[in-house]
Structure formats: structure tokens, C-alpha cells
Assembly symmetry: C2
Homo-oligomer: 179 residues x 2
Amino acid sequence: MLDATLAELAERGYPALTVEAVAARSGVHKTTIYRRWGSADGLLAAALERETGAGWTPPDTGSLAGDLRELVTELVATFTDPARAALPMAVLSAAFQSPAAARALRAFYADRQGRAADIVRRAVARGEAPAGTDPVEVVRAACAPVFYRLVVTREPVDAAVAERAAAAAVLATRAATFT
Amino acid sequence: MLDATLAELAERGYPALTVEAVAARSGVHKTTIYRRWGSADGLLAAALERETGAGWTPPDTGSLAGDLRELVTELVATFTDPARAALPMAVLSAAFQSPAAARALRAFYADRQGRAADIVRRAVARGEAPAGTDPVEVVRAACAPVFYRLVVTREPVDAAVAERAAAAAVLATRAATFT
């Protein structure tokens, strides 16, 4: 059911996401869906919640620069591949129109940022970043320029943008910007 | 007509934006609107294009730190005031579903970022930022963390977030991150 929800969302976008559409795709009767999830927003929130629990771990290359570069490069790779970008873009879009989607998105990124922050905790332990560095703030600094181009200024992103965003976050971290 | 378009968008969001709704609000016959603008997307693009030409100028406090702080603080003030946030949030949302809105949004931010870059050009001239600094990249660095929280991670923003984003951009600029 949750797979059917995410497939519908990725293929047709949030405005077309209905319990009827998910019922048709999954072969489950819509009454059953309404009883368990209440609405299309309930389905979406449950599907995102499941993704939130998935066992993602951040890169571990041995250096802050290497880890952040890999993290942001992977982010750019996801969002420049139309097949992989469809679902996350649909969820970002849904959050503008659905408080349940916005809450689920917030929980998803709280989880992801918390995991990615291990990159910075390891760097602090290795002496690559100043003690007292806010690890999530470094992750935000590395990823924000990519999302800003993708969904605000609608500028193109590529590997060079990823490299520069990661490198800028490293320099800023070393300059004690995030302590 | 363009005012009616922006008012509809701010009040009811992009999914409800139709030529019929703009016709009803403005008192202009829908046939006239179709003839001149073609569609609701055409109206939206024209309305954003008009905003793009508006005479916005960036703050000029005499220092890079002061200017960026004022720029980002104003951004946060806009997006934390529901009355002022409604329209820009609706446009950001529309860009996910309408290529015309995405193009108009891109043109709008290209214009705004180009104007805001004067802050950095003045700082370079005063010797506050290294020669060869990419001025638009500094503007992106200052604004991106705010938008990232607003529309991606859906985390709250406040004056402290603005101060920190601006201060981080200043430190990173001085560390030659954006040359």
C-alpha cells in the first residue's frame, strides 16, 4: 500500500494523489484504505515515515572533505536523475499543500541530518573540525546551496556545484563558523 | 489583471489558480484573458515578470556583515509573516507543477541575486572581501540556509537563524571560500 502511494506520487504528483488512485493501483478496496489511513495525506505520511526508518548511513571516506563531497555529490546525482528525483520532488511539493506531508518531511530530514551529522562528529574526534562545532549545522551548510538552486532559484546543479558546496562547508567549518 | 492573479495565488494557492477565478476577481471577461495571456500559467508568468522589474535595492549599511545581516533578516521577516509569506510560498509551490512558473521564478531570482550581489562588490572594493570573490555565490550562501529550512527540512526560522546564516557567509567569504 505504501509502495503504491509512493509510486503514484512519483508518477503523477501530489495533486493527483487520491485514495481511489492508490486503491486502483494496489488492488486493495478503498474502504479498507480509508479505515486504516483515513486519507491520501495519511497514506503519504505513513509512507514517508517508513522511509524515515530505513537504514541509511552517511559516507565514511576517512576525511571531512571526502565525506561531505560524497554526501553532496550523491544528493546532486539523485536530483539530476529524473527517475530518482520524481519522488523527492513530489514530496517537497506536497509539503506546500499538506500539513501532514510537511510534518512527515520534517521528520524525514531530522532523521537524515542526524545520521549525516556522524560525518562531523568523526571529524571533530579526528581533530579536523574545531571542538564545539554544531554537526547538523555543517550538514545544512553543505546541502542547502544544492536545494536552494533546485527549488528556489531553479538554477541547474551539477557535480561542480556539489564540489563547491562541500568545499565551502569544509572551509567554513575549519574557520569555526559553526561553533 | 496581474494584481488579481497574485491575489488569487496568495489566497488560494496554485492548484486553484484558473483563468475563470482571475476573471471573476478582476471583472474582465475570460475570453479577453485567454486572448492576451493564453492560460493561468501565462498570467502567473506575466505577474512574476512584472515583480522582477520592480525597483528593489539591497541594504547598504556600510559593512558586509551589516548588509548581509539586514538582507537575511528581511528574508526571514517576510517568510515568518503569514500575510507576506503567502505569495512567495505559493510561487515556490507553483514552480513544482508549472514549467512557466519555474522559468518566471528563475528569472525573478536571477534579477534579485544580481542586485543583492552589489553588497559583495562594495565589500570587495572596501577590502572587506578577497578580490576575485564570486558575489552571487556569497548571496546564495547567506540566503540558502533560510530557504533550506523553510521548504526542505521544514524547520522553523527566526532572527537567530538569520544572524547565523549571515555571519557564516561573512566568515566563509573572508576565508576565501567563494573565490
